[in-house]
């Protein structure tokens, strides 16, 4: 018993000593923090925020740090506060669920900027950044309508970014070929790869030849199913470039270079330039943020006339003539 206590105390003592020896961080370096709701190790939603953070670090020389909060809402406020208290200039909360806590913490830290992804908030220094997923998915829907017989969409959870993507996709299909069926499934999570694959297999067997995933990590199940179904079934890479996993089937990639958009806003903050008067929406108009590229090596690579049609549609979306979310 005595040994236990002594060992414990000496361990604590050693640690306290170690603490004292840690070098202090430069007080006036620009710092940016990131709160992600899931794991950055997965391709998809969280990863793009991580990339954004790294980009800011590289481009603006900022000190960066991130926290994975594993869907623990009770921790959001504390994490924001920790960053703000440590003098971080900008903190990005990656998801609309961070909005409430950011607004609360912002009251105590008027000098800190809070950026919230997928949010429409705009209050003081709390700015919502929205990537309008419905726009690129609308284009995918158009391509599917032009080239395919049946469409399918497999989403993770019914949260705004994914719902918008589905709505955009369905609208794109309907606008191009009104009677083409669009099937959709919500997995209920972002990890069940097996379920995603089976859902895709099912859709393919019912005649869908354009099946798109929007379920982060679980999406690879869909790609897998598409690949196994043969080169006549097509899909798109979503958020990141995974063309190498199914080169015959992936017709193109919607690359969300969120990093560019975030860096632009953060650079603006750093330079002190005035920020947009409302929340920020990244759409197809932001060519550096939303990139839609084609894979020429796919068996059913998108033909030139379709590409031109898509470009025309894209122009109409940018000009506001087409509303991808209907109405």
């Amino acid at each position: 018993m005595k040994i236990d206590r002594r060992a414990c105390l000496s361990a604590l003592g050693a640690v306290a000593g170690a603490m004292a020896l840690r070098p202090a961080v430069a007080a006036d370096q620009f710092k940016m923090g990131l709160l992600v709701p899931g794991s950055v190790a997965e391709e998809g939603w969280n990863r793009i925020a991580y990339n954004a953070l790294k980009h800011v670090e590289a481009e603006l020389g900022a000190k960066v740090s991130y926290v994975e909060l594993q869907q623990n809402p009770a921790s959001f406020e504390k994490a924001f506060r920790d960053y703000a208290a440590q003098g971080y200039n900008v903190v990005l909360g990656h998801g609309f669920e961070f909005q409430d806590s950011a607004l609360t913490v912002a009251e105590n830290y008027p000098d800190t900027w809070f950026l919230i992804s997928s949010s429409k908030v705009h209050k003081g220094k709390v700015i919502g950044l929205n990537t309008d997923s419905s726009q690129p998915f609308y284009l995918m829907g158009v391509i599917a309508g032009k080239m395919g017989k049946g469409a399918g969409f497999i989403g993770g959870l019914e949260i705004p970014p994914i719902k918008e993507a589905l709505d955009g996709f369905a609208n794109g299909v309907k606008a191009t070929k009104a009677d083409m069926p669009v099937r959709s499934v919500y997995l209920g999570n972002f990890q069940d790869v097996t379920a995603a694959k089976e859902a895709a297999v099912n859709m393919i067997s019912r005649g869908a030849d354009f099946v798109i995933p929007d379920a982060d990590a679980a999406g690879i199940g869909v790609i897998q199913a598409v690949r196994e179904a043969g080169p006549d079934v097509c899909t798109f890479g979503v958020f990141t470039d995974i063309t190498s996993t199914a080169p015959d089937n992936i017709l193109g990639t919607y690359l969300a270079d969120y990093a560019q958009g975030v860096e632009r806003i953060v650079a603006g903050i750093k330079n002190g330039s005035p920020l947009p008067a409302s929340n920020v929406v990244f759409g197809l108009k932001d060519a550096d943020v939303m990139k839609f590229t084609y894979n020429d090596k796919a068996k059913r690579a998108v033909p030139e006339d379709v590409r031109q049609y898509v470009d025309a549609v894209k122009a109409k979306i940018i000009s506001g003539e087409i509303h991808t979310l209907g109405g």
């Binding site: 018993m1 236990d4 414990c8 361990a11 604590l12 050693a14 640690v15 306290a16 170690a18 603490m19 923090g33 709701p37 794991s39 740090s65 991130y66 926290v67 994975e68 909060l69 594993q70 869907q71 623990n72 809402p73 009770a74 921790s75 406020e77 504390k78 994490a79 506060r81 920790d82 960053y83 440590q86 609309f96 669920e97 409430d100 105590n108 429409k120 959870l157 019914e158 949260i159 705004p160 209920g188």
Partner: protein, 358 residues
């Protein structure tokens, strides 16, 4: 109770302290062992092992706000852990605390966003009661299935977890969805319905006091009341209990209803004290972590307080670890797992002799 020679002439306070100390020895040694192994794991993977204790433990309790945050996280863990102590003492393997939490949170929200005409204090009480009742009912459902259909509660509570979580998803995308915004979440609770805070400027609210009260009440129930005694007897030996005239069915239902009720209360408190609205991922696994809390506490409600705080420290600390040292959060699971294994081992080794009660 214990078979160690404690002098009866010693001051009762000292005796109590020694008993508590000895009982806590195994878990403490276990936790230290687990931390040590985790530190090794970190070191082997290129991180600084010293960061584990430094940031994780000390950082989590370094100032008033940090301590408040720890207690905030500990509240649901304590409530659920205490409830599970009761269930486990009755040998009811309630793996469904997570679902019961969701049931409670959903009921609390439904109650909170309606009945606007009530005075605030009554409304808050109603919210907490609604949560507890919903959780208790959800637990009792599994209990009824066991009593009348011989359905294993391990199976039914797991199924009910999924159903509760899915139902919550339905509520926030449908009937309870906030009409003001397009997000899948409920409307926000009115400001006067938030659980009162008592330690400004921290977020610490009265939920922690409710949790502590629940722990004491559960302890008194289990060890100082005849009803609790019956529950424990049923847990230790159902046939002996039946022979003694104790109704196994009634105690099973009681135990799981209490357990579910506390989990539901935890859900209601999370709504009324922390999040102020309902959405899909309201719990990061409190229901499962609560199992670990109860087991580490050897199913003793008072010890569950310490155990709950410990797990909250680990969680809090792991977030700090990420902010400062970029150590992956999943390491907390490893630490928790090692803690439990160590406790199980140390605890079992103590059982070589006569089984200590309590």
């Amino acid at each position: 109770m214990s078979d160690l020679p404690i002098r009866s002439s010693l001051d009762p306070a000292v005796r109590l302290l020694s008993r508590v100390g000895l009982a806590a020895l195994a878990p403490i040694a276990a936790v230290l062992f687990a931390l040590g192994v985790s530190a090794l794991l970190l070191q082997l993977n290129g991180f600084h092992a010293a960061d584990v204790v430094n940031v994780m433990i000390l950082g989590a309790v370094s100032d008033k706000r940090s301590i408040a945050e720890v207690l905030l996280k500990a509240t649901p863990l304590i409530l659920i852990g205490v409830g599970l102590c009761v269930a486990f003492r009755c040998s009811i393997w309630n793996i469904g605390a997570e679902g019961q939490l969701y049931a409670g949170a959903s009921a609390a929200t439904a109650c909170g966003v309606n009945f606007g005409a009530l005075p605030a204090w009554l409304h808050i009480v109603l919210i907490l009661v609604a949560g507890s009742v919903a959780g208790a009912a959800w637990g009792a459902l599994a209990g009824l299935l066991r009593v009348y259909f011989r359905a294993s509660e391990v199976v039914t509570t797991i199924m009910l977890n999924y159903i509760a979580i899915i139902f919550t998803s339905y509520l926030v995308t449908g009937p309870l969805k906030d009409p003001a915004a397009s997000y899948p979440q409920s409307a926000k609770l009115a400001r006067d319905l938030w659980l009162p805070r008592f330690l400004p400027p921290t977020r610490l609210h009265v939920g922690i006091l409710i949790a502590l009260a629940a722990a004491v009440a559960a302890y008194v129930f289990l060890f100082r009341s005849s009803a609790g005694y019956a529950v424990r007897v049923v847990g230790l030996n159902p046939s002996a209990a039946a022979y003694a005239g104790i109704s196994v069915a009634r105690n099973v239902l009681l135990a799981i209803a209490i357990s579910g009720g506390l989990a539901g209360l935890a859900g209601a408190i999370e709504i009324a004290g922390v999040n102020y609205r309902l959405y899909q991922d309201i719990s990061p696994g409190y229901g499962f972590e609560g199992i670990a809390v109860a087991l580490l506490a050897n199913n003793n409600p008072l010890a569950a307080v310490a155990s709950g705080v410990l797990f909250a420290v680990l969680r809090s600390g792991s977030e700090l670890m990420q902010i400062s040292a970029q150590v992956p959060q999943v390491l907390v699971f490893v630490i928790q797992g090692l803690c439990i294994l160590s406790v199980a081992a140390f605890g079992a080794l103590r059982l070589r002799g006569p089984r200590p009660a309590g």
